[in-house]
Subunit: 297 residues, 4 copies
């Protein structure tokens, strides 16, 4: 538990061949490229990784491939998600055994759940592993929200140490910081503006776009660590343009399109998700060039 | 394809033992009881069946058990659900091979999907089986809605023959009836008021509560078939009280509670879903007695 | 209080000249036409009447004009709406003095309100007049919902006698009927399917479309009173097409467009609301002809 | 148009006597107190001012009283809101004549409106006055949202110079800044975290809580102007606690309660809004003391 997660953790896409198999070569190459670009860790099977569209065997292959390619140089965090506690706990144990240094715990549900059920679910995952757990909540895409009260209870578990809150509400994060800031470390989500989260006391940024702009993301983090807020703000304004473009389309499709432009043969999103049209590809090419140039200055 | 689904199709719960295994004996006994009570078919792995909380092997056991117990006396429809087309199609083929006479196709997703993606998903399922497909849409619980336009396209497939629309909006159903009534048959959902759906031209009722009140549900259907609308309305008013109680709690937990009261050892809902409290149990006991007495009159 | 509201109550549009003044001649002619067509009452200043877009003096003119033109032949109900209780109560008193036989009480709010505040508002209106009050709730357009609990409390007032529920949820109406059916009479709203409301025990239909299809609406009501449900259902299916078209556009703009087609110079919706485009006009012309022909058969 | 709005603009409450009349003495005293505390301007008839609950004559009295008491020392901005363009424009002209240096334009509607209607409404207001216009949008409380496209069109008018966006989404603000930052100045709303808005390039903070903590709010603004971000962040964290408490209750009721604690006899919120309970009063007393002490340090 001495391990500390800090900095830029790109959400990896899942490269898939047309026959549905995970492309381990491309995934390994992407991991190598990102580590060379200075990222502080890697997150597999997040939303950008299309976890919801993969079956059990594909998921296992992803975690194993990323852990092997990272080879201990940076921590690998693996996403875990189900509606049933036992299934999620089973995934968590499996991924820890495959080399994950932490799990990102996501909750799915069909029926509405209350705080006690949310707590039971995340507790079940945390107690099934010995590695640190990152709680994830995204009220925009998922049916579950994590109340501040539930979060307070969950912080009592020794290995629930991180939160990735994708609510996009800075006020909510400030409330959590003021109340639980010494008990849980917060990662910004892509939907947010990571600079503000770090300014409030956050410890880093876990996001899909960092797959495409790893150096600039690392630079933003370093400026925040050095408390050079004006410089960081200027960079943040430039980087936001990437997010603005991505918000119009499916995020996984955007990151896959951008990586193709960068030479990684990651394949298409899993059907029925569809690849981007030519026009969107061009928009992504343009914004990536814009960000590239801006960061050089 | 000569098979016609008509009438009352209870959504079966999934009896689970405390060790997590499917209780095949109890499930078979429930199937027997419902067939003896006159239901016209059975639906396994619907929302009441907690499909989202089961793993692949549990789901397979459920379909196999129900098909064996029904033994061809009534059609068995099996719920199929995933975010990826290929996985859902794979489930559909598997369940058809296990004896399902039809599949209830449900779509999950993490990212927002448009009409063309919704169409691709359901088409993928329909083309993977030779049995009839019941489209299911529940905009209240799921992240996907089926537009009337998408529905029109899907009706062109030879084995997409039924719709179960749980939107609860009679206006929407009337629009569908007026436009596609001769191409697709509509089942009412529990959230609706089934009498009105049948009055509009619907062919039956697929719902969790029919597990608990099979005879009364069958009676309602018969009155509708005989066009005895005033009598049917009087019965509907009584039956609605069951739904009214169930709406306050988790539906699967309610049906499991009611079945326990009727002597079926169906176990608790799958964690983190929780069983009902004593007070809710009493409320269910009361409303079931009320309905029992009313139907006797 | 011996007066009983029953049957078809068209929601009158508010004819406005290009200088912003209420066109009293056209409004009077419309009232005359509707009474000749057999409607059982008239509702002024409902949503179709664009009450939210009128000032105090325009509203007063509308109520006075309708009351004078109706001349006691049918009851006139006037819409009352504000966020503050005192202002709404003041409107109610004013409209009763101008000849309204009842008030339709609508609640607006800026801040979220709880049940006790909702009750206080409607109670304040009811206690300020001696005529009957129709409670109105439309959770789709307004920020206020009327819970069944609040409704039960409000029914205790001697002149709160009617409910117009535009939630469009038949289940909610059945719950209200089962619990309060002997204390409050329910009118269907246009968003609903009025036949079902009447079948459940409702007393009529208050709706904008009845301005355009008064005879057919009266016919539907009569079939319901005679409990000729199959015939009523066939007519309802035809009439629904009108609603289906109207749902695509602004309702007030649709009714104004339809009335223009019928020769009433009602002017345009109040800016910034905009009149319908030519294509929508044609769609309305077509559906009105379709309904006209169908009803002749 | 040489006038520039910058800094802290408290949203004034509307002190009301038990007979419903505006308490001009208390309102004048509050204005004096806030100007003495260093605020840069005043906003009357905002949401905290309960504009939706006042009638025309009360609103006029409020604007006149505030303008007289401010006596040109700081700009007074008056809130304007209706569903009809002509009524809103009429209010705007009236308030400018009464001494308002700017108007805060809010749009209400009953029917859904599209971009062209939103543009027409705000344009109508802007063209009716010669003073600057602050556009206001709060998608959480109001039925209207202002798209970035509509905003871009509106910026072309010479006197639409400011935006108060209460969406609470920093990403949306950054998009607006990146696209329209040189054409429109942005004020933070209370629901937001004003420091971040100022860091992005915003020009100030318009909010109800500034009525209660004017000195601390001014201090936050000054730290932002001096680009002392770490100090500003520390103060922001303390001030956020006030917002956190207020979010649990009705905002106008909270500010009125706090002002009573500070000795201003502002009366209760307008019925059916209700005053806070004793417990909430204590919570507000505690958080205000906490903020007072923290700011002294």
């Amino acid at each position: 538990m001495q391990l500390k997660f800090r900095g830029i953790y790109p959400y990896l896409v899942t490269p898939i061949r047309s026959d549905g198999s995970v492309n381990e070569q491309v995934l390994s190459a992407l991991v190598e490229h990102l580590i060379q670009s200075g990222v502080h860790g890697l997150t597999a099977l997040g939303s950008t990784g299309e976890f919801a569209y993969l079956n059990r065997s594909q998921r296992r292959t992803v975690v194993q491939t990323v852990a092997r390619a990272a080879h201990g140089r940076v921590p690998v965090i693996a996403g875990v998600c189900h509606a049933a506690t036992s299934e999620a706990a089973c995934q968590a144990r499996e991924y820890e055994a495959l080399g994950a240094a932490g799990v990102l715990a996501i909750m799915d549900t069909y029926f509405p759940v209350d705080d006690s059920q949310v707590i039971a679910y995340f507790k079940g995952i945390a107690q099934s592993v010995s590695c640190p757990v990152v709680l994830y909540t995204n009220p925009n895409f998922s049916r579950v929200d994590l109340s501040v009260g539930a979060l307070e209870k969950l912080c009592e578990l020794p290995n629930i140490l991180y939160l990735k809150d994708a609510s996009g509400r800075t006020g909510r994060l400030l409330s959590i910081m003021n109340r639980l800031g010494n008990r849980i470390s917060i990662f910004s989500a892509s939907a947010d503006v990571p600079l503000f989260v770090m300014m409030m006391g956050g410890v880093g940024w876990m996001a899909g776009p960092a797959c495409l702009i790893p150096r600039q993301s690392v630079r933003l983090y370093e400026l925040a660590v050095q408390r050079k807020w004006d410089e960081a703000m200027a960079l943040q304004r430039v980087l936001w343009e990437v997010n603005r473009v991505f918000k119009r389309y499916n995020l996984a499709a955007c990151i896959k399109a951008g990586l193709k432009l960068q030479g990684f043969d990651v394949g298409d999103p899993v059907a029925p998700l569809s690849p981007l049209q030519a026009e969107a590809f061009e928009e992504i090419r343009t914004v990536l060039e814009h960000v590239e140039n801006a960061a050089e200055r």
